[in-house]
Amino acid sequence: MAGGGGGEEPNLTPFIDLFSVLVCFLLMTAAWLQLETLQTNIEAATSKETPDDSPPPPPDPKKVNLAIGLGKDATTLSEGEKVSKIPKLDGKFNRVELERILKVWRDKYPDKKDVVVNSESGVRYGELIGAYDLLVATGWPDVGINPN
């Protein structure tokens, strides 16, 4: 014990050594970019185009293909044969109206999970991702993007 009644000071050198190594290791492995991904369903989008050796299943009259078409001036919503258009607002798709229709679809087809997104030439990639994100947010987990 040192004079004066105080306790012995701990030896901090090993702590500093340990922390130095830890800091170096963590600096090397730190993920500075927190990125995420949206996973597309290619099979859903291209199922019509890809031929298969097995005979095609009989058409289900109740099955309805749902699709969204991103255009330069308007967004097209296809519900089987029924097609409706939503004009763009300030060069962007009308998010509020699109969200409303997607929720209507969600209630109308509770078991259906897939929607295909088609896009015209000249549409920005950011818009495509915006529509994709909106679809997932409104309860459509299997989003297919048509690459044609």
């Binding site: 597309t40 000249g122 993007i145």
Partner: protein, 191 residues
Amino acid sequence: MAGGAKIRGNSGRLIKPPGYHLLPEWDLTHLRHVIETRRYKKAGFSLSLAPMVDMFSILVIYLLMNFSSSGEIFFVSKDIVLPRAVKGVPMASHPLISIVGQQVMFDAEKVEGQAGVTTTESNDGESPKLRAMLRRIKRIERQISPDKAFRGQVNLQAGQETDVDEVKKVMRVLIEEGWTGINFVVDPRAQ
């Protein structure tokens, strides 16, 4: 000598005789040595390590929060402003394909023992270098797990102002080569 008595010297000044002295109770020589030693120690440079340990602790906690157990490093070109999305899933480590302007870049961590493989070429819808790389990786994957159905996974990144046609060209190449697991890289920050 009696206290207060005046002594006459050569000069006219008065010399006062010392007063009453206690006998030293302590070993003054030793005490003087101890005091001197302490004074010497205080004069020397002494670094207090406690704040340093505190700083390291905070740094370690901060870095632990940014720790990535998968260890992937993603390269995002400064020319790319990623589109924002709120419903993304954490990015997994797959080969990365970037579309910058009219160029398409391929970046894989490791291909056949070769680390950090990258290719750059024009995004004309053919992309022979990209196809060659995809085939190489696909071949390796099939050798590793021949019984498993191949569903190639790639991360695809493009700027939000990119024409969707450029993205679709790359998507067609990927699908033709059997890479149907396309993950679009997005910025998860709230819109």
